[in-house]
Symmetry: C2
Subunit: 104 residues, 2 copies
DNA sequence: GCAACATATTGACAAATTTCGATGCATCGA
DNA sequence: TCGATGCATCGAAATTTGTCAATATGTTGC
């Protein structure tokens, strides 16, 4: 319950949603490296300071939505689809089953 | 984008998640009325003050997750499954399609 | 009409969040 | 080895959020 709230909180900021969209479909002209999306790329896309980006990335990683891999001096980030799958699953009870309240 | 963030924010508090679970499967022994779940019932379940509950209900209604119907002096609340369906849909892109980043 | 009750709103306060500049820590290239 | 680069952390400021007491609004029953 607490953890679920934490996950939703990680998604409750427009900057972090922008980050996720960029990680999903990175505009390669905005990426400094061939190997993937690094923190400094995100900085450019969001127009936010480096510490702020670092903070947002930390929250996304802690919530499990993003995986960080440190290579050399760069940190490369990728979407973790499983976390979104699980989260979508935890929403199902609110819409999949017919809502049974006060009917049987 | 902003609106999506607002929706996630509405789900980012443990008290509000508890409210949703209670609305989904109300313990009828905790409901003062036969007709449904009213705000005062939620008060008892959460152990929060009446203004606080009113505030949480307002956020859930504004986000579209809960529908409020005022009847007499009571306000009855129900889950709105469609809102959850749409939200789950907006998560799909992060896990449904293969993540294409840097592969084509 | 009046008293009791359910809910909403207001005002206040503490805690959490977002943001940045400054600083520290690795790592790479020359 | 040294300077430059990328990222993390710290400390602080501004804003937002969660909570409650007090009050207001509206409805029911007598």
């Amino acid at each position: 319950m607490e953890e679920l709230a934490t996950q939703f909180k990680a998604l409750s900021d427009p900057a972090r949603l922008k980050i996720l969209d960029f990680l999903l479909e990175p505009d390669r002209s905005r990426c400094t490296r061939e190997e993937g999306v690094c923190a400094c790329d995100v900085e450019g896309v969001l127009g936010l300071s480096q510490p702020t980006v670092s903070h947002h990335m930390k929250l996304l990683v802690q919530a499990g939505f993003v995986t960080a891999e440190k290579r050399g001096r760069w940190a490369f980030y990728t979407i973790n689809p499983d976390a979104f799958r699980v989260l979508a699953g935890s929403l199902e009870k609110y819409h999949l089953a017919p809502v049974l309240a006060y009917c049987c």
